[in-house]
Symmetry: C2
Subunit: 258 residues, 2 copies
């Protein structure tokens, strides 16, 4: 058994987990309340819930500066483009390895600063070639325990599929073991999705109970090769849209004049 | 604007929020990790997700002692009866004012002890006649900020309907203002439901932004009388079942011999 608390605390962190039911996607809001601007960022916003996200940002008196994605989602359209169009000054961000459009690109080892808080970028490819995990900073001035926004690399008692978008089961196995399971065991795991109603897990819990990633690499690869998943409904719409922050470039729309 | 953290922390509290998608119900797991038994309770478990709840209790090495309800739900069947049948030693609990069957009954002012943690019972009638809010203890050895499990009395930017099950808009208004809005502003509000994907709010936030309960009592009563809600689908099944912990008494089942 694993003993661990299940919320992170820091006098400066405001943290909210938000859920989009149709795609079972979690969006995360983080802000530094001690900074005079109360700078904030959203991880994995969904287009359909952008107005909800903007209203909570406004009510809490935050200044949204970044809208970031863990990867190019295949199951929903990102809200980063809409957020940029609706809130002044927001910059979209994604990994350079995703090959997508965005205002800013991150790479393994980068730090994303929000006031005095920061997120560390860890490359965790395997579900897609450009997947990253964002981890709150190390250090006593940062939230304790640490929080890892794992996207679809590591889900609660599961993981993302590896059969398209440059996926690779062998790469995913290495990513999770070297970049996530190497974090302190009490690190909170906040995934991009959950389909059973779990909201959070910990690194220690997943190291003990993840039915896939506790196996050896060969068994893991076998499991992933035999999932027999159907082709995702949204992929042909979501992926191209998400490559451009969720908004199709209107100048390229043949039905509209330039 | 309101500035507040959004998670509670205490070295002894294990806390998990769990979601049931069909009825958009939140179940909460609380446990005292410092006590040798790791005693735990579930607030508002749902029958359909009992196996998920039992598996997380087991994996975390907890001893489930109580399965408690904030009120007699009309939209889903409680999991308390199933939990009792599947996990030895679990006691069901609900307010005496609910007029339901359970192992233990609570009244306003009671304390529910789980190891060294406790919940305070506050009567918050109005959605139903027997609604209570469970609030984590006052005191530095208890989670900070406090956490209020408000059931359907206070929802995030909303509240439960007041048109059946002994509901009363005037009573609900008084309950929320005297029993919930009187808590410290940083108290975390964990409702029984959310339909927009919010997971938590605070007393301070609801005092500022709840579209119903920030109004004066007359306006509130008018809002509640003009909601024109349809009759809840599940009520005729859920209410009788929930009056007996979600399990019909098998000895009264005419199709089965005694
Ligand atoms: Fe994905
Ligand atoms: Fe209810």
């Amino acid at each position: 058994t694993t003993s661990s608390s299940s919320s992170s605390s820091s006098s400066n962190l405001l943290f909210r987990q938000l859920f989009e039911k149709e795609s079972s996607t979690y969006t995360y809001l983080l802000a530094d309340l001690t900074h005079p601007d109360k700078p904030a960022l959203l991880v994995d916003p969904v287009d359909k819930t952008v107005d909800r996200d903007i209203s909570i940002v406004e009510e809490l008196g935050l200044k949204l500066i970044y809208a970031i994605n863990t990867h190019v989602h295949a199951d929903h359209v990102t809200g980063t483009g809409l957020l940029k169009s609706k809130v002044e000054g927001v910059k979209s961000m994604i990994s350079k390895a995703s090959n997508s459009k965005a205002d800013l690109f991150v790479e393994h080892g980068d730090k994303i600063q929000i006031g005095n808080l920061f997120l560390e970028v860890r490359a965790t490819p395997g579900h897609t070639a450009g997947c990253v995990t964002y981890v709150t900073g190390d250090g006593l001035d940062q939230p304790q325990p640490r929080m890892a926004f794992t996207g679809d690399a590591l889900l609660i008692r599961g993981c993302g599929r590896t059969d398209f978008q440059g996926g690779s089961s062998s790469q995913l196995y290495k990513s999770v073991h070297s970049q996530i399971f190497s974090l302190p065991k009490d690190t909170l795991v906040y995934p991009a999705h959950d389909y059973k109603g779990f909201t959070v897990s910990t690194v220690g819990e997943e190291m003990l109970y993840n039915p896939r990633l506790t196996k050896d690499e060969e068994t893991f690869k076998n499991i992933m090769e035999n999932l027999q998943l159907s082709y995702p409904k949204m992929i042909d719409v979501a992926v191209p849209a998400n490559m451009v922050c969720g908004l199709q470039d209107v100048t390229k729309d043949p039905t509209k004049p330039l």
